[in-house]
């Protein structure tokens, strides 16, 4: 008896130790990454860095066009992904019969889509959007080359595809959290199905959808693989004006600076500064998501 107890106690200690170690390790990795970036990049981050274009082969100047292009592409991505993703989730959760084979098939497809590597989305975007859709559009419009080339539109749509499963899953999760009794209450009062969804279900699901949206923004801002064939440019002398222009974006800019710079020594601090900006943005967005989640959770408990 005594021996078994002491063995239990020892294995308990070991388990606490191992899981604790893993936690510390994760935190340490984050600290090392951030520490390296802050140490190497903090000096370059000035107001000019954030508002000026790069100069002299990216060995001097700022990253403004990359920030601008990132915001531009993420906005178009949102315009594309939100209506489609939210509608699909509403259909799947509120209308489709849960046990039906088609529902299961679609849900399985969504989950599989979420597991596809982002480079595959990039190649798909190149093949489908640019070569097929874009060139087809150009041919039918009789244009020289307008849509049949990499540009913000196709890059944003590729990002939208990449993020579609995430929005669908987040929205479905949010819809699932709305109690069934609320739906029944509304329907019993003679509300139609759509009125019930619009006036009762969606307002309560909104925080969850917003959280998903913020996470999708942060992912869309950071992904490089889907956009490198579909619209991102190495360097552009002017800012993009229309969605059919190419664009510079932060993630790709970092990639380019760290792999193709003519003067690595001069570029490294700038690349680190740019990475710091991107990472801060991502972390900030994730924090916004957490804040939205906790605040609305509390508000819902109070009943707003």
């Amino acid at each position: 008896m005594k021996r078994a107890a002491s063995i239990n106690r020892i294995s308990d200690r070991i388990n606490i130790g191992l899981t604790g170690l893993a936690t510390v390790l994760i935190f340490a990795i984050l600290v090392v990454i951030l520490g390296t970036l802050v140490a190497g990049g903090h000096k370059v981050i000035t107001w000019e860095f954030l508002t000026q274009p790069p100069r002299e082969g990216m060995t001097k100047g700022g990253i403004f066009p990359a920030i601008f292009g990132m915001v531009f592409s993420v906005m178009i991505m949102l315009i594309a992904v939100l209506p489609v993703g939210v509608s699909a989730a509403i259909y799947l959760h509120e209308y489709a019969k849960p046990g039906h084979w088609l529902t299961k098939l679609v849900r399985g497809a969504v989950n599989n889509l979420a597991g596809v590597p982002s480079i595959v989305f990039g190649l798909f975007g190149l093949g489908f959007f640019i070569n097929f859709l874009g060139r087809g559009l150009d041919a039918s419009l009789g244009k020289e080359t307008l849509f049949g080339q990499p540009c913000i539109l196709w890059a944003a749509l590729t990002l939208a595809l990449l993020n579609l499963p995430m929005i669908i899953v987040a929205t479905e999760e949010a819809l699932r959290a709305v109690p069934q009794t609320e739906r029944a209450g509304a329907l019993a009062l003679g509300a139609t199905k759509w009125q019930t969804i619009w006036h009762v279900v969606l307002p309560q699901a909104l925080p969850g959808i917003l959280t998903g949206t913020v996470l999708v923004i942060s992912r869309g801002a950071g992904e490089v693989a889907p956009i490198m064939f579909t619209g991102a440019a190495y360097f552009l002398p002017t800012l993009p004006k229309v969605p059919t222009d190419q664009f510079m974006t932060l993630g790709y800019h970092i990639f380019v600076m760290s792999t193709q710079s003519p003067d690595i020594e001069a570029t490294v601090p700038i690349a680190m500064g740019a990475t710091l900006v991107l990472l801060s943005l991502t972390i900030a967005l994730n924090m916004v998501a957490v804040v939205i989640r906790t605040r609305t959770r509390k508000a819902l408990r109070r009943g707003r």
């Binding site: 019969k97 849960p98 046990g99 109690p179 009794t181 609320e182 029944a184 209450g185 509304a186 329907l187 019993a188 009062l189 003679g190 509300a191 139609t192 009125q195 006036h199 009762v200 307002p203 309560q204 819902l300 408990r301 109070r302 009943g303 707003r304």
Partner: protein
């Protein structure tokens, strides 16, 4: 008086299937206007299912199928031409657990009216809200905080707001699914008083597992067991001299 009673709801040979199981079997009963009809029976006997058949809330459950007749004012509510939304405006419902929306008290009561798009009611929404809350005997308690969230109220108050919400759309029949089972004795007494007053204007069908409650509030009682209607009679008779042995055993608490 008894001769003037008109029949509001009539079920004849009504069956309800859940997938392959028969949840309600050959139910025939007649529910009179402006009276309280209680449905009692052991857990899982189908009393809630029976109640939910009257406003077709069972439609929401996958695998439910019905046959036989269920007439509301002589019209079969399971006919193809029936608008379920319209039916539910006529047949209101109060649920077992108070389920107010996370909106203000005012918006809770106004909800059904707004959704219905009835111009007459929408144009005097303030009046409708006040009238409904008064009818639900909660106006005096909350009239100064109509814009506050209904979620802040106590369970008993929430349930009365839910009743007001149902009354606002001017239904004719009100279904209550164990409306007091989640409430304390005081709140329960208030709901029962309310039911007593509401029957002057509305036809009420109430499901309850509380025998005393059925005896107190209802005019007739239906006793259900395993999906079958065992006995249906005046409450006064059911609780004093039931004609079926099972009813007697259930009422005296020998099972259930």
């Amino acid at each position: 008086m008894p001769d003037q009673i008109t029949e509001r709801i009539a079920m004849a040979g009504f069956n309800l299937y859940y997938h392959a199981t028969k949840a309600l079997e050959d139910i025939s009963l007649s529910i009179p206007e402006r009276q309280v009809t209680a449905i009692i029976g052991p857990s899982g006997c189908g009393k809630s299912t029976l109640l939910r058949s009257i406003n077709r809330m069972n439609d929401l459950i996958d695998g439910v199928r019905v046959d036989g007749q269920l007439l509301l004012d002589g019209e079969d509510i399971y006919d193809r031409g029936i608008d379920v939304v319209e039916l539910r405006r006529k047949v209101g419902m109060v649920f077992q657990r108070p389920n107010p929306f996370p909106k203000s008290i005012y918006e809770n009561v106004a909800f059904g009216v707004r959704m219905g798009g009835n111009q007459g009611l929408t144009s005097k929404l303030d009046e409708v809200v006040e009238r409904s809350l008064k009818e639900a005997a909660i106006w005096d308690e909350i009239k100064d905080r109509l814009s506050r969230s209904a979620m802040e109220l106590s369970g008993g108050q929430q349930q009365r707001v839910c009743i007001a919400r149902a009354l606002a759309v001017e239904p004719e029949v009100i279904l209550m699914d164990e409306p007091a089972s989640a409430l304390d004795p005081l709140a329960t007494a208030k709901i029962e008083e309310l039911i007593f007053r509401l029957k002057e204007k509305y036809t009420i069908v109430i499901v309850t597992h509380n025998m005393q409650q059925a005896a107190r509030v209802s005019d007739q009682t239906a006793f259900l067991m395993l999906g079958k209607l065992i006995e249906y009679d005046k409450t006064s008779k059911m609780f004093t001299s039931p004609s079926n042995k099972l009813t007697e055993e259930y009422i005296t608490g020998r099972f259930g």
